[in-house]
Protein backbone atom coordinates (compact mmCIF):
# COMPACT_ATOMS: atom_id res chain seq x y z
CA UNK A 1 0.00 0.00 0.00
CA UNK A 2 2.92 2.35 0.49
CA UNK A 3 3.47 2.59 -3.26
CA UNK A 4 -0.10 3.81 -3.73
CA UNK A 5 0.23 6.38 -0.96
CA UNK A 6 3.46 7.64 -2.46
CA UNK A 7 1.77 7.91 -5.85
CA UNK A 8 -1.11 9.90 -4.35
CA UNK A 9 1.27 12.25 -2.58
CA UNK A 10 3.23 12.85 -5.79
CA UNK A 11 -0.03 13.59 -7.60
CA UNK A 12 -0.95 16.07 -4.85
CA UNK A 13 2.38 17.84 -5.39
CA UNK A 14 1.68 17.96 -9.11
CA UNK A 15 -1.78 19.45 -8.56
CA UNK A 16 -0.20 22.11 -6.36
CA UNK A 17 2.31 23.02 -9.05
CA UNK A 18 -0.47 23.18 -11.63
CA UNK A 19 -2.55 25.40 -9.35
CA UNK A 20 0.33 27.77 -8.86
CA UNK A 21 1.21 27.97 -12.52
CA UNK A 22 -2.20 27.96 -14.12
CA UNK A 23 -4.34 30.95 -14.88
CA UNK A 24 -7.58 29.58 -16.33
CA UNK A 25 -10.25 29.52 -13.65
CA UNK A 26 -12.08 26.43 -14.91
CA UNK A 27 -8.79 24.52 -14.88
CA UNK A 28 -7.97 25.72 -11.40
CA UNK A 29 -11.31 24.53 -10.03
CA UNK A 30 -10.71 21.14 -11.63
CA UNK A 31 -7.23 20.80 -10.13
CA UNK A 32 -8.52 21.75 -6.69
CA UNK A 33 -11.26 19.14 -7.06
CA UNK A 34 -8.74 16.43 -7.96
CA UNK A 35 -6.60 17.43 -5.01
CA UNK A 36 -9.54 17.23 -2.65
CA UNK A 37 -10.39 13.79 -3.98
CA UNK A 38 -6.86 12.52 -3.47
CA UNK A 39 -6.62 14.01 0.00
CA UNK A 40 -9.91 12.40 0.95
CA UNK A 41 -8.74 8.97 -0.18
CA UNK A 42 -5.45 9.16 1.65
CA UNK A 43 -6.62 8.18 5.18
CA UNK A 44 -8.00 4.94 3.74
CA UNK A 45 -4.52 4.02 2.54
CA UNK A 46 -2.74 5.21 5.66
CA UNK A 47 -4.86 3.09 7.93
CA UNK A 48 -5.27 0.30 5.42
CA UNK A 49 -4.66 -2.29 8.10
CA UNK A 50 -7.56 -1.12 10.24
CA UNK A 51 -10.38 0.02 7.99
CA UNK A 52 -13.52 0.78 9.94
CA UNK A 53 -16.93 1.87 8.78
CA UNK A 54 -16.29 5.27 10.29
CA UNK A 55 -13.17 5.68 8.19
CA UNK A 56 -15.01 4.74 5.02
CA UNK A 57 -17.85 7.10 5.84
CA UNK A 58 -15.48 10.02 6.46
CA UNK A 59 -13.53 9.31 3.28
CA UNK A 60 -16.72 9.14 1.24
CA UNK A 61 -17.97 12.38 2.76
CA UNK A 62 -14.67 14.15 2.12
CA UNK A 63 -14.57 12.96 -1.49
CA UNK A 64 -18.19 13.95 -2.02
CA UNK A 65 -17.74 17.40 -0.60
CA UNK A 66 -14.29 18.30 -1.89
CA UNK A 67 -14.41 16.44 -5.14
CA UNK A 68 -17.98 17.06 -6.18
CA UNK A 69 -19.92 19.62 -4.16
CA UNK A 70 -17.37 22.40 -3.94
CA UNK A 71 -16.45 22.35 -7.63
CA UNK A 72 -20.14 22.44 -8.52
CA UNK A 73 -20.78 25.42 -6.24
CA UNK A 74 -17.75 27.30 -7.46
CA UNK A 75 -18.40 26.42 -11.07
CA UNK A 76 -21.89 27.82 -10.79
CA UNK A 77 -20.57 31.04 -9.26
CA UNK A 78 -18.06 31.23 -12.08
CA UNK A 79 -20.69 30.75 -14.75
CA UNK A 80 -22.87 33.45 -13.29
CA UNK A 81 -20.01 35.88 -13.10
CA UNK A 82 -19.02 34.95 -16.64
CA UNK A 83 -15.27 35.31 -16.24
CA UNK A 84 -12.88 32.90 -17.87
CA UNK A 85 -9.38 33.87 -16.97
CA UNK A 86 -7.22 35.53 -14.37
CA UNK A 87 -6.23 38.98 -15.51
CA UNK A 88 -2.72 40.14 -14.64
CA UNK A 89 -2.09 38.60 -11.23
CA UNK A 90 0.40 40.32 -8.98
CA UNK A 91 2.96 37.66 -9.67
CA UNK A 92 3.43 36.46 -13.25
CA UNK A 93 2.96 32.86 -14.26
CA UNK A 94 6.61 31.88 -14.73
CA UNK A 95 7.63 33.62 -11.51
CA UNK A 96 4.77 31.83 -9.73
CA UNK A 97 5.98 28.44 -10.91
CA UNK A 98 9.51 29.30 -9.88
CA UNK A 99 8.27 30.39 -6.45
CA UNK A 100 6.24 27.20 -6.27
CA UNK A 101 9.36 25.13 -6.85
CA UNK A 102 11.18 27.14 -4.19
CA UNK A 103 8.32 26.55 -1.75
CA UNK A 104 8.54 22.83 -2.50
CA UNK A 105 12.24 22.73 -1.77
CA UNK A 106 11.67 24.86 1.34
CA UNK A 107 8.99 22.53 2.70
CA UNK A 108 11.31 19.55 2.24
CA UNK A 109 14.04 21.37 4.10
CA UNK A 110 11.60 22.48 6.80
CA UNK A 111 10.38 18.97 7.53
CA UNK A 112 13.96 17.78 7.71
CA UNK A 113 14.89 20.60 10.05
CA UNK A 114 11.95 19.93 12.38
CA UNK A 115 13.44 16.53 12.92
CA UNK A 116 10.19 14.66 13.44
CA UNK A 117 11.25 11.10 12.76
CA UNK A 118 9.02 9.39 10.29
CA UNK A 119 9.12 5.88 8.98
CA UNK A 120 9.31 4.94 5.33
CA UNK A 121 7.05 6.77 2.97
CA UNK A 122 5.53 8.89 5.72
CA UNK A 123 8.63 11.02 5.29
CA UNK A 124 6.94 12.37 2.22
CA UNK A 125 3.68 13.25 3.97
CA UNK A 126 4.95 16.14 6.07
CA UNK A 127 6.62 18.09 3.25
CA UNK A 128 3.54 17.61 1.08
CA UNK A 129 1.33 18.95 3.84
CA UNK A 130 3.50 22.02 4.30
CA UNK A 131 3.72 22.57 0.56
CA UNK A 132 -0.04 22.37 0.10
CA UNK A 133 -0.63 24.85 2.90
CA UNK A 134 1.90 27.25 1.48
CA UNK A 135 0.40 26.90 -1.99
CA UNK A 136 -3.00 27.81 -0.59
CA UNK A 137 -1.57 30.87 1.15
CA UNK A 138 0.28 31.86 -2.01
CA UNK A 139 -2.91 31.66 -4.04
CA UNK A 140 -4.75 33.86 -1.56
CA UNK A 141 -2.01 36.49 -1.46
CA UNK A 142 -1.01 36.71 -5.08
CA UNK A 143 -4.24 36.55 -7.00
CA UNK A 144 -6.85 39.17 -7.80
CA UNK A 145 -10.08 37.31 -8.24
CA UNK A 146 -12.22 36.40 -5.25
CA UNK A 147 -12.83 32.97 -6.73
CA UNK A 148 -9.14 32.14 -6.75
CA UNK A 149 -8.92 33.17 -3.14
CA UNK A 150 -11.71 30.75 -2.24
CA UNK A 151 -9.74 28.06 -4.02
CA UNK A 152 -6.68 29.07 -2.04
CA UNK A 153 -8.66 28.65 1.16
CA UNK A 154 -9.74 25.18 0.06
CA UNK A 155 -6.20 24.18 -0.82
CA UNK A 156 -4.95 25.43 2.54
CA UNK A 157 -7.60 23.34 4.20
CA UNK A 158 -6.41 20.30 2.26
CA UNK A 159 -2.91 21.00 3.45
CA UNK A 160 -3.90 21.21 7.09
CA UNK A 161 -5.79 17.97 6.63
CA UNK A 162 -2.71 16.26 5.18
CA UNK A 163 -0.57 17.54 8.04
CA UNK A 164 -3.12 16.15 10.44
CA UNK A 165 -3.02 12.72 8.85
CA UNK A 166 0.78 12.77 8.99
CA UNK A 167 1.19 13.87 12.58
CA UNK A 168 -1.86 12.55 14.36
CA UNK A 169 -3.08 9.02 14.02
CA UNK A 170 -6.77 9.23 14.67
CA UNK A 171 -8.87 12.35 15.06
CA UNK A 172 -12.17 12.17 17.00
CA UNK A 173 -15.17 11.62 14.77
CA UNK A 174 -16.95 14.76 15.84
CA UNK A 175 -13.92 16.93 15.10
CA UNK A 176 -13.63 15.52 11.59
CA UNK A 177 -17.29 16.11 10.90
CA UNK A 178 -17.03 19.58 12.33
CA UNK A 179 -14.12 20.47 10.07
CA UNK A 180 -15.90 19.24 6.98
CA UNK A 181 -19.04 21.14 7.91
CA UNK A 182 -16.94 24.23 8.46
CA UNK A 183 -15.47 23.99 5.00
CA UNK A 184 -18.86 23.38 3.42
CA UNK A 185 -20.49 26.36 5.07
CA UNK A 186 -17.54 28.58 4.23
CA UNK A 187 -17.64 27.71 0.55
CA UNK A 188 -21.41 28.03 0.44
CA UNK A 189 -21.34 31.47 2.03
CA UNK A 190 -18.44 32.59 -0.14
CA UNK A 191 -20.23 31.42 -3.24
CA UNK A 192 -23.28 33.49 -2.30
CA UNK A 193 -21.09 36.46 -1.45
CA UNK A 194 -19.30 36.28 -4.80
CA UNK A 195 -22.64 36.19 -6.57
CA UNK A 196 -23.81 39.29 -4.78
CA UNK A 197 -20.54 41.15 -5.21
CA UNK A 198 -20.58 40.47 -8.90
CA UNK A 199 -24.16 41.60 -9.22
CA UNK A 200 -23.42 44.81 -7.38
CA UNK A 201 -20.07 45.84 -8.86
CA UNK A 202 -20.01 43.93 -12.15
CA UNK A 203 -16.64 42.40 -11.36
CA UNK A 204 -14.98 39.98 -8.94
CA UNK A 205 -11.75 41.80 -8.49
CA UNK A 206 -10.70 41.94 -4.85
CA UNK A 207 -7.99 44.40 -5.69
CA UNK A 208 -10.50 46.91 -6.98
CA UNK A 209 -12.60 46.52 -3.85
CA UNK A 210 -9.90 48.31 -1.91
CA UNK A 211 -11.65 51.48 -3.02
CA UNK A 212 -14.42 50.62 -0.61
CA UNK A 213 -12.34 51.83 2.28
CA UNK A 214 -13.28 55.42 1.55
Amino acid sequence: MSAWSELILILVILTNLLLVGGNRLTGLIRFAAVQGLLAGLLPLLVHSHAITARLIFLAALAVALKGVAFPLLLGRALREADIRREVEPFVGSELSTFLGISLLAFSFWLSEWLGIAQAGWLRLMLPVGFFTMMTGLFLIISRHKALTQVLGYLVMENGIFLLGVALVGEVPFIVELGVLLDAFVAVFVMGIAIHHINREFNHMDVHLMARLKE
Binding site: A3, E6, L7, I10, I13, L14, L17, G21, S93, E94, T97, F98, G100, I101, L104, A105, F108, R123, L124, P127
Partner: protein, 304 residues
Protein backbone atom coordinates in the same frame (compact mmCIF):
# COMPACT_ATOMS: atom_id res chain seq x y z
CA UNK B 1 37.21 4.24 -14.47
CA UNK B 2 34.98 3.48 -17.37
CA UNK B 3 37.00 4.71 -20.33
CA UNK B 4 36.64 1.89 -22.70
CA UNK B 5 36.86 0.75 -26.24
CA UNK B 6 36.08 -2.72 -25.03
CA UNK B 7 33.21 -3.54 -27.37
CA UNK B 8 33.68 -1.74 -30.65
CA UNK B 9 30.26 -0.27 -31.13
CA UNK B 10 30.81 0.71 -34.72
CA UNK B 11 27.92 -1.51 -35.74
CA UNK B 12 25.61 0.36 -33.41
CA UNK B 13 26.77 3.71 -34.73
CA UNK B 14 26.31 2.66 -38.35
CA UNK B 15 22.85 1.36 -37.54
CA UNK B 16 21.93 4.65 -35.85
CA UNK B 17 23.29 6.68 -38.76
CA UNK B 18 21.14 4.70 -41.17
CA UNK B 19 18.01 4.54 -39.03
CA UNK B 20 17.80 8.14 -37.86
CA UNK B 21 15.82 9.52 -40.83
CA UNK B 22 13.35 6.67 -40.41
CA UNK B 23 12.10 8.29 -37.20
CA UNK B 24 10.68 11.29 -39.00
CA UNK B 25 9.05 8.89 -41.44
CA UNK B 26 7.30 7.08 -38.59
CA UNK B 27 6.22 10.38 -37.03
CA UNK B 28 4.76 11.64 -40.30
CA UNK B 29 3.00 8.33 -40.94
CA UNK B 30 1.42 8.49 -37.47
CA UNK B 31 0.20 12.02 -38.11
CA UNK B 32 -1.21 10.96 -41.45
CA UNK B 33 -3.10 8.06 -39.85
CA UNK B 34 -4.61 10.47 -37.33
CA UNK B 35 -5.61 12.84 -40.10
CA UNK B 36 -7.07 10.08 -42.23
CA UNK B 37 -4.55 10.54 -45.03
CA UNK B 38 -2.26 8.20 -46.88
CA UNK B 39 0.75 10.31 -45.99
CA UNK B 40 4.34 10.37 -47.22
CA UNK B 41 6.28 7.16 -47.80
CA UNK B 42 8.20 5.99 -44.72
CA UNK B 43 11.50 6.51 -46.50
CA UNK B 44 10.70 10.04 -47.70
CA UNK B 45 13.44 11.63 -45.60
CA UNK B 46 16.08 9.51 -47.36
CA UNK B 47 14.76 10.57 -50.76
CA UNK B 48 14.90 14.21 -49.69
CA UNK B 49 18.48 13.99 -48.51
CA UNK B 50 19.68 12.22 -51.62
CA UNK B 51 17.88 14.72 -53.82
CA UNK B 52 19.45 17.64 -51.97
CA UNK B 53 22.92 16.11 -52.16
CA UNK B 54 22.62 16.12 -55.92
CA UNK B 55 21.96 19.83 -56.23
CA UNK B 56 24.16 22.88 -56.61
CA UNK B 57 24.27 25.79 -54.21
CA UNK B 58 23.36 29.46 -54.15
CA UNK B 59 24.92 31.71 -51.56
CA UNK B 60 23.77 35.16 -50.55
CA UNK B 61 26.15 38.07 -51.01
CA UNK B 62 25.52 39.13 -47.43
CA UNK B 63 26.90 35.92 -45.99
CA UNK B 64 30.46 35.08 -45.04
CA UNK B 65 32.41 31.88 -44.37
CA UNK B 66 30.40 31.44 -41.16
CA UNK B 67 27.34 30.64 -43.25
CA UNK B 68 29.22 28.03 -45.25
CA UNK B 69 30.81 26.52 -42.15
CA UNK B 70 27.55 26.22 -40.22
CA UNK B 71 26.08 23.08 -41.84
CA UNK B 72 29.43 21.27 -41.71
CA UNK B 73 29.84 21.91 -37.99
CA UNK B 74 26.24 20.96 -37.21
CA UNK B 75 26.60 17.67 -39.05
CA UNK B 76 29.95 16.93 -37.40
CA UNK B 77 28.68 17.59 -33.87
CA UNK B 78 25.63 15.40 -34.35
CA UNK B 79 27.68 12.62 -35.93
CA UNK B 80 30.30 12.73 -33.18
CA UNK B 81 27.63 12.62 -30.50
CA UNK B 82 26.72 9.14 -31.75
CA UNK B 83 30.02 7.94 -30.37
CA UNK B 84 28.84 8.77 -26.86
CA UNK B 85 25.50 6.94 -27.02
CA UNK B 86 24.94 3.50 -25.56
CA UNK B 87 22.59 1.52 -27.75
CA UNK B 88 21.31 -1.95 -27.14
CA UNK B 89 23.61 -4.14 -25.09
CA UNK B 90 26.72 -2.29 -26.05
CA UNK B 91 28.16 0.66 -24.22
CA UNK B 92 29.12 3.69 -26.24
CA UNK B 93 32.23 3.82 -28.35
CA UNK B 94 33.68 6.27 -25.88
CA UNK B 95 32.44 6.21 -22.29
CA UNK B 96 33.90 8.06 -19.34
CA UNK B 97 32.49 9.85 -16.31
CA UNK B 98 30.87 13.05 -17.46
CA UNK B 99 30.38 12.06 -21.08
CA UNK B 100 26.83 13.40 -20.98
CA UNK B 101 28.32 16.84 -20.29
CA UNK B 102 30.23 16.42 -23.55
CA UNK B 103 27.01 15.44 -25.27
CA UNK B 104 25.30 18.58 -24.03
CA UNK B 105 28.35 20.58 -25.12
CA UNK B 106 28.32 19.13 -28.63
CA UNK B 107 24.60 19.88 -29.01
CA UNK B 108 25.24 23.40 -27.72
CA UNK B 109 28.03 23.92 -30.29
CA UNK B 110 25.65 22.73 -32.98
CA UNK B 111 23.05 25.22 -31.83
CA UNK B 112 25.59 28.08 -31.63
CA UNK B 113 26.55 27.68 -35.26
CA UNK B 114 22.95 27.25 -36.35
CA UNK B 115 22.11 30.61 -34.76
CA UNK B 116 25.22 32.37 -36.05
CA UNK B 117 24.64 31.14 -39.61
CA UNK B 118 21.06 32.41 -39.36
CA UNK B 119 22.25 35.87 -38.27
CA UNK B 120 24.75 35.87 -41.13
CA UNK B 121 22.07 36.26 -43.75
CA UNK B 122 20.96 39.64 -42.43
CA UNK B 123 17.33 38.64 -42.64
CA UNK B 124 14.81 39.59 -40.01
CA UNK B 125 12.97 36.25 -40.13
CA UNK B 126 16.10 34.29 -39.44
CA UNK B 127 17.16 36.66 -36.70
CA UNK B 128 13.75 36.15 -35.10
CA UNK B 129 14.14 32.40 -35.24
CA UNK B 130 17.62 32.59 -33.76
CA UNK B 131 16.41 34.79 -30.92
CA UNK B 132 13.60 32.40 -29.99
CA UNK B 133 15.86 29.40 -30.29
CA UNK B 134 18.36 31.06 -27.95
CA UNK B 135 15.67 31.78 -25.36
CA UNK B 136 14.05 28.35 -25.35
CA UNK B 137 17.23 26.34 -25.39
CA UNK B 138 18.64 28.40 -22.52
CA UNK B 139 15.68 27.17 -20.48
CA UNK B 140 15.88 23.59 -21.74
CA UNK B 141 19.53 23.10 -20.76
CA UNK B 142 19.02 23.14 -16.96
CA UNK B 143 16.10 20.72 -17.24
CA UNK B 144 18.22 18.36 -19.32
CA UNK B 145 21.19 18.34 -16.97
CA UNK B 146 19.02 18.11 -13.85
CA UNK B 147 17.19 15.07 -15.25
CA UNK B 148 20.55 13.44 -15.90
CA UNK B 149 21.52 14.30 -12.32
CA UNK B 150 18.45 12.38 -11.11
CA UNK B 151 19.47 9.39 -13.22
CA UNK B 152 23.03 9.64 -11.94
CA UNK B 153 21.76 9.65 -8.36
CA UNK B 154 19.50 6.66 -8.95
CA UNK B 155 22.12 4.53 -10.64
CA UNK B 156 25.30 5.79 -9.01
CA UNK B 157 26.90 5.93 -12.46
CA UNK B 158 28.32 9.07 -14.04
CA UNK B 159 28.45 7.94 -17.66
CA UNK B 160 25.62 7.36 -20.09
CA UNK B 161 26.57 3.74 -20.68
CA UNK B 162 26.68 3.04 -16.96
CA UNK B 163 23.29 4.65 -16.43
CA UNK B 164 21.73 2.77 -19.34
CA UNK B 165 22.95 -0.63 -18.28
CA UNK B 166 22.08 -0.17 -14.61
CA UNK B 167 18.62 1.18 -15.32
CA UNK B 168 17.91 -1.82 -17.52
CA UNK B 169 19.44 -4.59 -15.46
CA UNK B 170 19.32 -3.42 -11.86
CA UNK B 171 16.53 -0.90 -11.41
CA UNK B 172 16.37 0.44 -7.88
CA UNK B 173 13.50 -0.54 -5.63
CA UNK B 174 10.48 1.68 -5.82
CA UNK B 175 12.07 4.07 -8.29
CA UNK B 176 9.05 3.94 -10.55
CA UNK B 177 7.52 7.36 -9.88
CA UNK B 178 10.92 9.05 -10.00
CA UNK B 179 11.71 7.49 -13.38
CA UNK B 180 8.31 8.46 -14.75
CA UNK B 181 8.82 12.08 -13.72
CA UNK B 182 12.35 12.18 -15.11
CA UNK B 183 11.35 10.58 -18.39
CA UNK B 184 8.51 13.06 -18.73
CA UNK B 185 10.92 15.96 -18.20
CA UNK B 186 13.36 14.49 -20.75
CA UNK B 187 10.49 14.03 -23.21
CA UNK B 188 9.54 17.71 -22.90
CA UNK B 189 13.19 18.65 -23.52
CA UNK B 190 13.17 16.39 -26.57
CA UNK B 191 10.10 18.15 -27.94
CA UNK B 192 11.64 21.56 -27.30
CA UNK B 193 15.08 20.82 -28.75
CA UNK B 194 13.81 19.08 -31.86
CA UNK B 195 11.21 21.63 -32.90
CA UNK B 196 8.14 19.51 -32.23
CA UNK B 197 4.66 20.60 -31.21
CA UNK B 198 3.93 22.09 -28.66
CA UNK B 199 7.07 24.20 -28.93
CA UNK B 200 7.37 24.61 -32.68
CA UNK B 201 5.31 23.28 -35.57
CA UNK B 202 7.48 21.61 -38.22
CA UNK B 203 4.73 21.88 -40.80
CA UNK B 204 3.96 25.57 -40.53
CA UNK B 205 4.37 27.82 -43.56
CA UNK B 206 4.28 31.14 -41.75
CA UNK B 207 7.76 32.48 -41.15
CA UNK B 208 6.63 34.59 -38.23
CA UNK B 209 5.68 31.47 -36.29
CA UNK B 210 8.72 29.34 -37.13
CA UNK B 211 11.71 28.67 -34.95
CA UNK B 212 13.90 25.94 -36.45
CA UNK B 213 12.56 25.94 -39.98
CA UNK B 214 13.24 29.60 -40.46
CA UNK B 215 16.89 29.38 -39.45
CA UNK B 216 17.62 27.09 -42.38
CA UNK B 217 15.68 29.22 -44.85
CA UNK B 218 18.58 30.43 -46.97
CA UNK B 219 20.46 27.13 -47.06
CA UNK B 220 20.04 24.92 -50.10
CA UNK B 221 21.51 21.91 -51.80
CA UNK B 222 24.09 19.85 -49.91
CA UNK B 223 24.09 22.40 -47.05
CA UNK B 224 20.41 21.82 -46.43
CA UNK B 225 20.98 18.06 -46.64
CA UNK B 226 23.61 18.32 -43.91
CA UNK B 227 21.33 20.41 -41.72
CA UNK B 228 18.33 18.13 -42.14
CA UNK B 229 20.37 15.02 -41.46
CA UNK B 230 21.94 16.64 -38.41
CA UNK B 231 18.46 17.47 -37.10
CA UNK B 232 17.39 13.85 -37.59
CA UNK B 233 20.48 12.59 -35.81
CA UNK B 234 19.71 14.97 -32.93
CA UNK B 235 16.20 13.52 -32.66
CA UNK B 236 17.69 10.03 -32.59
CA UNK B 237 20.20 11.01 -29.90
CA UNK B 238 17.62 12.53 -27.58
CA UNK B 239 15.27 9.65 -28.28
CA UNK B 240 17.90 7.15 -27.20
CA UNK B 241 18.32 9.07 -23.96
CA UNK B 242 14.57 8.85 -23.25
CA UNK B 243 14.49 5.15 -24.12
CA UNK B 244 17.49 4.51 -21.86
CA UNK B 245 15.83 6.38 -19.01
CA UNK B 246 12.91 3.99 -19.28
CA UNK B 247 15.32 1.10 -18.99
CA UNK B 248 14.59 -0.28 -22.43
CA UNK B 249 17.85 0.72 -24.00
CA UNK B 250 20.10 -1.57 -22.09
CA UNK B 251 17.99 -4.66 -22.63
CA UNK B 252 19.14 -5.44 -26.10
CA UNK B 253 18.98 -4.24 -29.68
CA UNK B 254 15.38 -5.25 -30.34
CA UNK B 255 14.07 -3.63 -27.16
CA UNK B 256 15.96 -0.46 -28.07
CA UNK B 257 14.63 -0.37 -31.62
CA UNK B 258 11.13 -1.12 -30.44
CA UNK B 259 11.38 1.64 -27.86
CA UNK B 260 12.52 4.13 -30.48
CA UNK B 261 9.64 3.19 -32.77
CA UNK B 262 7.16 3.56 -29.92
CA UNK B 263 8.68 6.92 -29.06
CA UNK B 264 8.28 8.11 -32.65
CA UNK B 265 4.64 7.03 -32.62
CA UNK B 266 4.15 8.86 -29.32
CA UNK B 267 5.65 12.06 -30.79
CA UNK B 268 3.29 11.68 -33.74
CA UNK B 269 0.34 11.32 -31.39
CA UNK B 270 1.39 14.38 -29.38
CA UNK B 271 1.77 16.39 -32.59
CA UNK B 272 -1.65 15.32 -33.81
CA UNK B 273 -3.57 15.91 -30.62
CA UNK B 274 -1.98 19.06 -29.26
CA UNK B 275 -1.80 22.53 -30.70
CA UNK B 276 1.36 24.49 -30.67
CA UNK B 277 1.67 26.78 -27.63
CA UNK B 278 1.75 30.53 -27.85
CA UNK B 279 5.37 31.61 -27.81
CA UNK B 280 4.86 33.40 -24.51
CA UNK B 281 3.75 30.15 -22.89
CA UNK B 282 6.72 28.05 -23.93
CA UNK B 283 8.91 29.25 -21.03
CA UNK B 284 6.12 28.15 -18.69
CA UNK B 285 6.29 24.69 -20.21
CA UNK B 286 10.04 24.54 -19.72
CA UNK B 287 9.82 25.73 -16.13
CA UNK B 288 7.12 23.13 -15.55
CA UNK B 289 9.43 20.44 -16.90
CA UNK B 290 12.13 21.78 -14.61
CA UNK B 291 9.72 21.48 -11.69
CA UNK B 292 9.18 17.81 -12.60
CA UNK B 293 12.85 16.97 -12.64
CA UNK B 294 13.43 18.90 -9.43
CA UNK B 295 10.57 17.02 -7.81
CA UNK B 296 12.18 13.77 -8.96
CA UNK B 297 15.46 14.89 -7.40
CA UNK B 298 13.77 15.76 -4.11
CA UNK B 299 12.09 12.36 -4.07
CA UNK B 300 15.44 10.63 -4.45
CA UNK B 301 16.71 12.68 -1.53
CA UNK B 302 13.85 11.63 0.72
CA UNK B 303 14.02 7.91 0.17
CA UNK B 304 16.64 6.22 2.37
Amino acid sequence: METGLIFPSAGGIAGAALAAPLLSGVINRTKAVFAGRQGQPLLQAYHDIIKLLGKGAVYSRTTTWVFRAGPIIQFSCAALALALLPMGFQPALLAFPGDFICLAGLLALMRFFLMTAALDTGSSFEGMGASREAAFSALAEPVFLLSLAVLARLTGALSLSGMASRLALHPAEGSGPVLVLTTLALFVVLLAENARVPVDDPNTHLELTMIHEVMALDHGGPDLAFIQYAAQLKLWIMGILVVNALGLGGRGGWACAGGMAALAVLIGIVESTMARLRLLRVPQLMIGAGALSLLALLLTLVRP
